[in-house]
Each structure stands twice: as C-alpha cells, then as structure tokens.
C-alpha cells in the first residue's frame, strides 16, 4: 500500500529495444497519487512502449517499474488487478450489448452478482450511458464506444487508470466530457496516467513529461514548464532567416533558436525588446509576434524540432 508521499507509479532506468532499434533509452518517471499525468510525445517517441511496459503487456527488458507498490516484473498479475486500462484501439465486442461487455470485464476482474450490478449502474451513470445499456455496441457512435471503454476500465475501482491516447476519435464535446470524468476520478483519489500526442490535451494534465526519441526531455506541471521559458516568446519571420539570426544573436546579443524560417527569442521583458527589434530589422522582418510560451514552444526549446516535424521524422524512419 502506498502512502501519500510515495509515488503510485515509479519508473526507473527503463530501457527497451525492438531488435536494433532502441525505443526507450533510460526513462525515469514518478507519478504521485491522485494526479493526472500526461506522457506527451510525437508518434514514435516511445510513449506507447512505456505504456505497454507499465500495463504488463510486454515483459520488462531492463530497469524497474512499480505500480501501487507492486513490481511489474515480479508480480504482473498483482499489477493487473490494481490497474484499469483503456486502450487506444477499441477493445469492445461489437456483437454484445453495453451491459454484456461490462459483465465480461467483471468476470475477468472477479466481479459478479450484486456487486457487478451495483458497479455497472455506477460506471454507466458516470459515463452517461445508462439509457443505451441494452444496445449492441456496434450501434453506438465512436464517442459512446470510447465511453464504454472508460466504463470498463473503471469497473473494478482500480487505484491506477492507464489510458492510451484517450481522445482519439472523439469530437470536441466528447473530449470535454472525458476530461470532466477524469478530473472527477482524480479528485476521488485515482491516479491517472495517459499518453497523448495532442499538446492542448497535455496542457490540461496536472503534470506531464515530454518524450522524444525514447527519452523524457522535460517534466513538470504545464505551468512550470512554460515559466522556464520566460514570460514571453517572440517569433520573427523574415525573408532572410539566416541574416536575421545573425543580427539578433551577434549584434543584439540575444539567445535565439532557429526553427526552419522562424527565429524564436526567449526573454523576460518582451515589451521593451519588440520596438528595438522592429527598428533594427526594419523591413526584412515580415512578422514579429509575441506570445506566451506554449507546450509546443517547450518542445521546440528542448529538441530544436517542431512537434509535428519530429513526428514526421519518426514515422519516416519507421517504427
């Protein structure tokens, strides 16, 4: 049993290889109880591998993972009983009704009879599907199927809920509903770990880790991460990016980062800097914009890539 101070999920020095390709290159991660923790990363960054290792779908190659105080390598069945999993791809039997699907899940987790009925009523009302419970799953919309998945994952009252890309296939309204449900569960003490490649989704989590190329390159609360980058971020787009980069870095002595045709400047007092930048660059700058740093900026600052470009590269290399 974990105390409040101990992390519910603790990952240390985990490495994983698929043949010659290293998918995880030494990952450390700690998730405290009752938090919503997001693993953010482009496709191919290793987050799904990490998810599979934590959920005991794949055997651990090196390092250690503990979930709710149980070692994944020593007692995978114990871990399985403590976690609820919501997969990215559907795991429903489409030829069964919502009720029957949940009953199947109950049998797999040792819930039957009255307990099953009570729990099933509770989870179905949580996900708002009480009135659709006797319909076949194939007649439900994508968003509703997702909610049935969520209901399955929470049925046995796991202390830890793992969700792989939970927003996939959901419309904006359904995403909001999902987050409302997750926030409610976390408030009641459930620890939630989810993977996502959506920046705006990771922004809603209590804490997040950004993954790229099998490593965690930054972690903390979304607010902390942005604060690290300063109060403001100035982006300059100009006709001659190299020349602009030279001027800003060498003549003005500012720290810059170049991403394709954009020059990004981090600073703490952007209001004072913009007039002098505009005067110095003159007409060569097409646009100068000032924004609060976003998670994408954090990603760019740490990797030098744009988020989507990293995704394309990873996919190009092959998984």
């Amino acid at each position: 049993m974990t105390s409040v101070l101990e992390p519910t999920i603790s990952v240390s020095q985990v490495r994983h290889r698929y043949g010659d390709r290293e998918a995880l290159a030494g990952v450390d991660l700690q998730v405290r109880p009752g938090r919503i923790y997001a693993l953010l990363g482009p496709n191919g960054s290793g987050k799904t591998t990490l998810f599979r290792l934590i959920s005991t779908l794949m055997p651990l190659q090196s390092g250690s993972i503990q979930v709710d105080g149980i070692d994944v390598a020593k007692d995978p069945m114990g871990v399985r009983a403590a976690i609820g999993i919501v997969f990215q791809s559907p795991s429903l039997d489409k030829n069964l009704t919502v009720d029957e699907n949940i009953a199947c899940q109950g049998a797999l987790y040792g819930i039957a009879g009255r307990t099953l009925q009570a729990r099933r009523d509770e989870v179905l009302s949580t996900v708002g599907l009480t009135d659709r419970r006797s319909e076949l799953c194939k007649s439900l919309s994508g968003g509703m199927k997702r909610r049935v998945e969520l209901a399955k994952g929470m049925l046995h009252q796991p202390r830890v809920l793992l969700l792989d890309e939970p927003s996939t296939g959901l419309d904006p309204a359904a995403r909001l509903d999902l987050w409302e449900a997750l926030t409610g569960m976390a408030k009641d003490g459930m620890t939630i770990l989810l993977t996502t490649h959506l920046l705006e989704e990771a922004d809603k989590a209590d804490e997040l880790a950004i993954m790229a190329e099998g490593k965690i390159i930054a972690s903390g609360s979304p607010e902390e991460m942005r604060r690290e980058l300063g109060d403001g971020l100035i982006t300059v787009i100009s006709q001659d990016a190299s020349e602009t980069e030279r001027i800003v870095r060498d003549e003005m002595g500012l720290e810059v980062q170049r991403v394709q045709q954009q020059i990004r400047i981090r600073c703490h007092s952007p209001a004072e800097l913009i007039p002098s930048l505009a005067a110095r660059l003159g007409d060569s700058a097409t646009t100068i914009t000032l924004g609060r740093p976003s998670l994408e900026d954090v990603f760019i600052a740490k990797t030098g890539h744009r988020f989507w470009a990293a995704e394309r590269d990873a996919v190009g290399v092959g998984q």
Binding site: L57, A81, F87, S89, G184
Partner: protein, 281 residues
C-alpha cells in the same frame, strides 16, 4: 459524478468465472449470427443427403448398411469439426478487433481464455450435433437405445478435442486466410481419413500396398478412433470389423481421451506467456 476509489479493489478473480463468462460469450455471439447457425447444420445435412443418396448403389458396408446410414456418423463429425473451427477462428477476429487485448491484460492469465473458447465452442458443436441426431432419430434412420448416453459423452469429447485443436491452429495466426489454408490442407484430410467417408481398409491377405498404406495412415489418425466409437454407439448391433478395420471400444475411448488431453495441453503450452501476437497495434 462520484466514484469511490477508497475501497480496495477486489482480490484475484477466479479463473473459472472468467472461463465461464468467455464460454457464454461464444454462445451468445453464435446465436446472434443466424447465418452461422443455419450454415453449420444445413451444409452437413446437404452433404449427407447428396452423398448418401448419390453413392447408395455403389457402396456396401457392414451389416447391409447403405451409404446413407454409413455416412451419418461422418456427418455428425463434420458438424462438430465445422462448428469447432468456426468457434475457434473467432480468436483471430477477437484479436484483430481488440477484444482480446482487454482479456489478455486481465489478472486471470491465459488458461481461462483457452478454457472459455474450448468450452464455449464445444458446447455449440455438441448442441448442433444433437440437433442433427434428433432429425436422424426422428426419421428412424438410426435405432434409439441406451447407447445414446455414452454417445453424447463421446460427442462432447470430440467437440472439446476439435476446439483445442482449432486453438492450436488459430492462436499463432494473424489472419483468417491462413486458417482456411490449414483447414483445407490439414483438418479436411483429417476428417476424410477418419473413416467418415469410407471404411478403414483391413490388413488381410488380399490387401494391396495402397490399402495397407491407407490403413496405417487412418489408424494413426486419432479422429478415426473417436469416429469408430460414435459409429458403434449409433449402431450398437452392427459388427463393423466385418467390413474393414475397427478398434475396440476400450481402445477408442482411451485414444479419444488421450487426444483431448494432448491437444488441450499443447494449446495451453502455446498460449503461455507474452507473445508478439498479444500486441494489438
């Protein structure tokens, strides 16, 4: 919205409850697919009537049996085989459609998954075979007697063994196309060479080399023993040893039970542990 997470999660679930639920799921799914119910019984029935009638004149079996009578146990075996195959082939669909991934991460292990599929599939096969036999009894094609009790037990053993065999084939497969290939190359010949279609030639003075070869191939086929006993229990008064080779009842029961244990154990062995096939990407 409130979810109580303070309560402890339930302890380790029972494997039997999980197996039972998975078996019931097979059952529910089967009866929701009406075409499966119909085809599993109509196809063998057509086979039986067409071959039985067409080959009537050119066949002379033991105890003055015509081909319609002789082919009846073979038809029952065909029903069991087809139904078992279609029940176990669903494991490939379960994996592709994602249902299996939720089952494989449940804290019950693999044995209930196997037991559930085999029990569910065998129960369907058994009931289909009984439905067909009821027709045969109703039309008076076979005499009804006490031997129907051990017959039902033997049919259950056959169903369980065929489903275990189906799981051995289906579990490592990634597509149903592969299963069809194995079915045509392995399972259909196994049925044809079990004495279902023609008697096992006896080894005697006038047996040719070809007949001797066929004799031994068919004698090595475990299904031959199960089928021989089914035939014997359907027609207890006929001496099948008179028109070909027939094993003794003790031998037939022993081989059938050992075959069931062997196929189930092999399936359990193949399904153990984490395999690449578990991952649904």
């Amino acid at each position: 919205m409130s979810i109580s997470t303070e309560k402890n999660s339930p302890g380790r679930p029972s494997g039997w409850a999980a197996a039972w639920m998975l078996a019931r799921r097979e059952w529910t799914r089967f009866f929701r697919q009406k075409n499966r119910v119909v085809s599993a019984i109509v196809q063998p029935l057509l086979f039986w009537l067409l071959f039985g009638t067409g080959l009537r004149g050119s066949f002379q079996g033991a105890g003055e049996q015509g081909f319609l009578e002789y082919f009846l146990p073979g038809t029952v075996a065909l029903i069991v085989l087809f139904t078992a195959i279609f029940a176990t082939i669903s494991v490939i669909e379960d994996r592709r459609e994602g249902f299996m991934q939720a089952v494989l991460v449940a804290p019950v292990g693999r044995l209930p998954v196997l037991a559930g599929k085999v029990l569910g599939g065998a129960a369907i096969a058994w009931v289909q075979a009984i439905a067909f036999l009821l027709l045969a009894y109703a039309f008076g094609t076979v005499p009804l007697g006490w031997s129907v009790v051990p017959l039902l037990v033997m049919l259950a053993i056959m169903g369980l063994a065929m489903c275990s065999l189906g799981m051995i084939v289906a579990w490592p497969m990634e597509s149903t196309q592969g299963f069809h290939a194995i079915m045509m190359l392995g399972l259909m010949p196994m049925w044809l060479l079990s004495g279902a279609f023609f008697p096992i030639p006896a080894l005697g003075g006038d047996a040719t080399w070809g007949q001797a070869g066929l004799h031994w191939v068919m004698r090595c086929n475990p299904l031959s023993y199960t089928l021989a006993e089914v035939r014997h229990l359907l027609y207890p008064t006929v001496d099948f040893g008179a028109a070909g080779w027939a094993p003794s009842s003790v031998m037939a029961w022993s081989v059938s039970i050992v075959f069931l244990i062997a196929t189930f154990s092999l399936a359990a062995y193949l399904m153990r542990g984490s395999r690449k096939a578990d991952l649904v990407v």
